[in-house]
């Protein structure tokens, strides 16, 4: 991993502008997740959403977003939990190189 990357104590990237797919993979690895195309579909969805709205979505809006932007059958929390266990919004944001969603403290 690049040496100029910086993280907070919970492992969220603080040098947001240095994010790339390799950075995503190494953050994911620390979470015990091996990234696949399905992960990256959600990761880029999160990044596009953040770029447009400057806020990382909470779990339920994320489900709705996946349903409308990726596919109907993937728009459910069970599917997202298999990709990003525990909290898809929080873990997804972490791997996507976004700030921690507010109130996920």
């Amino acid at each position: 991993m690049q040496s100029d990357l910086t993280f907070d104590k919970e492992g969220f990237l603080t040098s947001l502008e240095l994010w790339d797919e390799n950075v995503a993979s190494s953050i994911a690895e620390k979470e015990g997740i091996q990234l696949t195309k399905e992960h990256f579909d959600v990761i880029y969805l999160l990044r596009d959403f953040y770029q447009k709205h400057e806020v990382a979505p909470a779990n339920r809006p994320l489900v709705k977003l996946v349903k409308t932007q990726i596919s109907e059958d993937k728009g459910n929390s069970i599917y997202l939990m298999t990709l990003f266990p525990e909290s898809p919004a929080k873990i997804g944001a972490k791997i996507a190189g976004l700030p921690k969603p507010p109130n996920c403290l």
Partner: protein, 119 residues
């Protein structure tokens, strides 16, 4: 238990942080299954103006944040025609679709709520 909550946004988007932190509260509350409506009152209507560009003042775009409301199942947005007219604004200048009501109807809107709070 789902309650009807009306959040009244009374300030212009960038002069203070109230508008932004008000929306932060709305987005948080939406995660708890409440029936939330928003009333943009007085200078609060400026938050809905289209074509906002806040990059130059290094603040997050308020309209971009408001655009996520439907995704959070918040569909009931209101403002009064009097507030628009008094600021020489027309509904064509707004960046989001909202319910335009008469100032006389504000009390009816408030009467329907279990809780009302203002930012």
């Amino acid at each position: 238990m789902t309650k009807n909550i009306l959040v009244i946004q009374r300030t212009a988007p960038y002069g203070s942080s109230l508008a932004r932190e008000g929306i932060d509260y709305v987005l948080t509350s939406a995660a708890y299954d409440q029936n939330i409506s928003l009333l943009f009152l007085g200078d609060g209507v400026f938050q809905l103006l289209g074509k906002q560009d806040s990059k130059g003042i290094q603040l997050k775009n308020q309209l971009s944040a408001l655009e996520v409301l439907p995704l959070y199942d918040i569909e009931n947005l209101y403002l009064t025609e009097e507030d628009l007219a008094e600021r020489n604004l027309s509904k064509e200048q707004l960046g989001l679709s909202v319910n335009i009501i008469s100032r006389n109807d504000v009390h009816t809107l408030i009467a329907k709520q279990d809780h009302v709070m203002g930012f």
